[in-house]
Every structure is written in structure tokens, then in C-alpha cells.
Symmetry: C2
Subunit: 314 residues, 2 copies
């Protein structure tokens, strides 16, 4: 099984109440790829500038991520984002965005990337997402987007959504896209645009999944030490789709238990992401830590509905 | 087992995008008592005015709620709240509050109310909560409050919290009370004030429970038809504590599976509450509907962590 991701490859300068970092490795494709690399074989597609060096490539390759479709643009500068968070870590404040090499990006997928079993279209311009989607005949295609594209490129985004299988948005974005304040109704309206699966990301509150067969909801993994939420949504998507690719998931044919377990793996990968700045925590993550946290996550979210089986403490 | 609740008994005038009602039965003690009445024997303590009639009493008594400690104040008017919700049903906008008979309320519990196994101190002035708590030696005492008391009567509220076992607040209120933005840390700080159990209510996002032994989190029950969220938090508390009283829960001695199941029952009762205006939906609720929804809630929140047991769909 293999998974291709297209999205931003970036340098991020981030400040939170718990510290700050300057020009650290980031971007949706990077966070996604590192999370997914624990489950399946991942290829990254996207442009970087001459400021993107061997150290950054090494972070990806040390996790087995294939970097052959990362295009280094001569004379170019890598996408740059500067932002900060206040005490409410659910809200990112953008201070600066420099598209740089993304301004002229024309995605060209190699044969291997085109042949992937699964494709993730990270949060970039909808027209670029469509250009990539047209080159790849994956069995399952997922798409992330953001309020900017809903506001400035809605028609193009709706066309992109019509061509994919799984839509992954924040709940506020789902409501904005569909103009429906109720999340369950918004998700149903989004499914009517094309996708058979809709995932509503809810930050620290977890995530919900909707299909034609029903819904599934999972709270966020409760953490005492959240240092930097940047990339949490992409790490969620990486855990979710990475796991699904590892079991050979295909749009419209994937068993519900796999989708649920994918949601749990996504939550676990997001929880690790936010424990460090940028990719720091995921870079030093071990597979056994993922298994341990998944078990702990099950323990702290499950309940038993049969009262008679538990002895009365009194 | 029996449960005493003190809190507001009110007339509410509510407007939401889905309709409006004038002077319908409401108040924290009413929503709590109706929800808890499906699990255990409930007594309501609180004042009403001469405008509170036999029809309102009948709503409570038809669910078996004991109303002998509802004090009718001669010449008085019942507590009144007017509010509205916009498309974001998580935010209540208060347009008018008339304390009326609550302004001079001096709680006096009957022998039966004093002898309850469990006590819920609904959201009223902290000094009134302390006055009731001092009269009742229940095995488990829970308390709800709100931002108003955190801002205007903090010292008194902290003294009240030191005297109870289970604190139930919205997550924003927990953060405000403890001045700690991280919810897990805020809950730990709240436990250091006295309670052995802290429940963070999160509106449509569900709820989280914290004890010395660990935590438990549950998403909100996903609904397509939410008409009026007024009273959801009190219905949650009624389901949670009503279930715990039914199994003889005692502070510090209650098995974790009971607390978890209580959280699930609380969520289920809150989900019914919001499907109608005021108490309309809960008034016509049947016990088998509760059991059905609890099973459905388990189905849509549980996942299996063992990948090998599920056949690959491909």
C-alpha cells in the first residue's frame, strides 16, 4: 500500500505561551507525511526553495518518507508562515504568510506518486488540488481546505470536493461551506457534494465522522502539556489515512470498524504532534508509544452500558 | 436511594432560530429533577411565587418528583429568565433576569430532604449553596456554578467548593475559576480546592471527567434537530447524579465504571433535553428511549484497538 500527499512544505515561525521557534520545518504535507509514515509508505509532492536543505530532507527520509517528488525551485524561497497562539490554543493568529515557490507551483507527479493507493490533498489552492487529483487514480482521495478558500475560491473548491471521496475540515469550516449551523446536517450537505466520508475536526474537542451509514464521534485525547498545536489537523489526517491505507481501504468499501480505528489513530497522532513544537515530538516518536496511547485512549473513552454487571460499591 | 436538588425554579422565555416560547417551566432544579427522576427518587428545594400553579407542580409530580420542599412565597413572583440563541446554539444571550422570590430565599430543608443520599447544589448564589449544604449530610454532594459567581462572589464560591465532592462546570468556567487555560490542569487545580471529582461540561462537544485516578472523556451525542439548549447542562447533571444515586454512589468510593456510565447517561439526558423547548421533550420521554439511545451512543463512540481481528475489505 502507498500514500501520496500534496500540500505545503514550509518553514514556520511560531510563538505560543510556552515558547517560540524560528523557521522550523512545517507545512501540511510535512506534518501529514511524518504521521502517516508510522503506518504506510508515503510520498510527498510539493515545491521548496533553495533555502530548503539536506537537514530538512533528512527529517522526512529518516522516517522512510519518499522525497523524490519534492521539487527544488532554483532561486526560490520555501513557503513561510509566521503565527502565534494566545492562551486559547484553539485559535491560530497568522502574522505573515509568504507563498514564495507555491505561487507558481504546477504539480507534476512521478509515476510512483500517480500509482499510489491513496491520495491526500492537503490545504492548498483548490485548483492545485484538482490538478493533482487529475493525475492520480487512487482508490481513496481525501481533501483538506480552509476558510480562506471557502471565501475566495468557493466554486473551485466545490468542484474539487465533487471529485474526492473523503472531506476533512474543521467543524467551523464545514458549517461555513454548507451554510448549515448544525454539524450533522452540515456533514450530510457536504456528502451531497460528492464525498462518501466527511470528517469534522474539532481541535481539542476531538473529531466526528459521517458516512451514509451513520456517524462516529471521538473526544480529543486529554493532555496536560500542549506546547504548539500547529500541524495537529494534518497529523490527525496522517494517522487516519495512513492507518486506512495500511489496511487497503477503498472509498465506499471500507468497513466501519476500520474508519473508527482510523479516527482513533488520527487523534493519537495529533496528540503527539501538539506535545512539541513543529515536528519535534513526532520526530522522536516510537511505534510502541502509539500503541500504548491508543490503548490508553480506548480506556479513557469507553463505557459499559450494562449496569447489572458491576457490583455496587456500597 | 434519594437525591435532593436545590436550584432555580423558573419561568423561561426563550427564542432560538427554530422557534420561541413564552414563560415556560424551567430553572436548573426543574431540568435536573426531571432528568434524575428516570433513575432515582428526587426532592426539589426552592422558592416560587404565586404565579407558579398546579400545572407546573403537576409536571414534576407526574414524574414522581417530591415537591413538598417547594416554598410558595405569598405575594411573590417566580424567578424569570428571558434569553435567545443565534445560529451558534452554544452561546446563550441573556435579555432579562428577574430574581424575584430568589432575592430573599432562605433555604430550609425538611427532614426528608436533609436525609437524602445525594445532594445537587444547582447554579444559585454560593452562600445559598453553602446554607443548603450545611443542612444535608449526603454521601455525595455536587455543585454547579457560573461565570457570574466566579466574577462577583469568588471567595464565597471557593468556600462552597471546598465543602463538596463533585464540581460540575463548563470548561470555560473551570478555566476562569482556576486561571489555568489547559483543561486537564484546570481540573487538577479545582480538585486541589476540595472535590474528588471534577466534571467539565463542553456543550455540544460533550464532557470530561477527572478524578485522582485519571480521566474520562465523551463526545456530545450528535443530533440533527436541536431546538433549544436551555437546561442541557442541568439535564446532564440530572442523568449523571441520578444514575450514580441509583447505584448507591458515595464520594471517594465509587467505582470508575459507574462514573463513566453516569457520564454517558448524563449525555443522553442532555441530548433529549435539547430536542424540544424547555422541558417539552423530557416530559414525554420513555425509559426505553433512554436505554436505546445509550446503546446507540456506545455504538457511535466506541472503537476496537486490535487491527488483526477485522478482515481486510480489499
Amino acid at each position: 500500500m502507498s500514500l501520496t500527499v500534496v500540500g505545503s512544505i514550509a518553514f514556520d515561525s511560531v510563538s505560543t505561551p510556552f515558547g517560540e521557534r524560528d523557521r522550523m520545518l512545517g507545512g501540511s504535507a510535512v506534518h501529514f507525511a511524518l504521521a502517516a509514515s508510522f503506518f504506510t509508505s508515503v510520498r510527498v509532492v510539493g515545491p521548496v526553495g533553495e533555502d530548503f536543505g539536506d537537514d530538512e530532507i533528512a527529517v522526512l527520509e529518516s522516517r522512510g518518507v519518499r522525497t523524490g517528488d519534492i521539487e527544488r525551485v532554483p532561486g526560490g524561497q520555501t513557503f513561510f508562515w509566521r503565527g502565534h497562539y494566545e492562551h486559547d490554543l484553539n485559535v491560530a493568529h497568522t502574522d505573515d504568510t509568504q507563498l514564495n515557490v507555491f505561487g507558481d507551483f504546477e504539480p507534476k507527479l512521478s509515476g510512483d506518486s500517480r500509482g499510489a493507493d491513496m491520495l491526500f490533498l492537503g490545504n492548498i489552492q483548490p485548483e492545485l488540488q484538482r490538478g493533482v487529483r487529475a493525475q492520480c487514480d487512487a482508490g481513496m482521495v481525501a481533501l483538506d481546505s480552509m476558510n480562506l478558500w471557502i471565501e475566495t475560491a468557493r466554486d473551485s473548491l466545490v468542484e474539487a470536493i465533487a471529485e474526492i471521496d473523503c472531506l476533512m475540515l474543521n467543524d467551523a469550516e464545514l458549517r461555513m461551506l454548507t451554510e448549515e449551523p448544525n454539524l450533522a446536517r452540515a456533514s450530510r450537505a457536504a456528502m451531497e457534494m460528492g464525498p462518501s466520508v466527511v470528517v469534522a475536526k474539532r481541535g481539542e474537542y476531538g473529531a466526528a465522522l459521517f458516512t451514509a451509514d451513520g456517524s462516529f464521534a471521538i473526544p480529543g485525547y486529554p493532555l496536560e502539556d500542549v506546547l504548539d498545536p500547529t500541524g495537529a489537523g494534518d497529523s490527525f489526517a496522517g494517522g487516519f489515512l495512513g492507518y486506512l491505507d495500511s489496511v487497503g481501504a477503498v472509498a465506499g468499501e471500507t468497513a466501519d470498524p476500520h474508519l473508527r480505528r482510523g479516527m482513533a489513530y488520527g487523534s493519537v497522532m495529533a496528540s503527539f504532534n501538539v506535545e512539541g513544537f513543529g515536528t519535534e515530538r513526532v520526530q522522536r516518536l516510537r511505534e510502541d508509544e502509539i500503541d500504548d496511547r491508543l490503548r490508553e485512549f480506548k480506556r479513557l473513552t469507553h463505557f459499559d452500558e450494562r449496569p447489572v454487571e458491576i457490583p455496587n460499591p456500597r
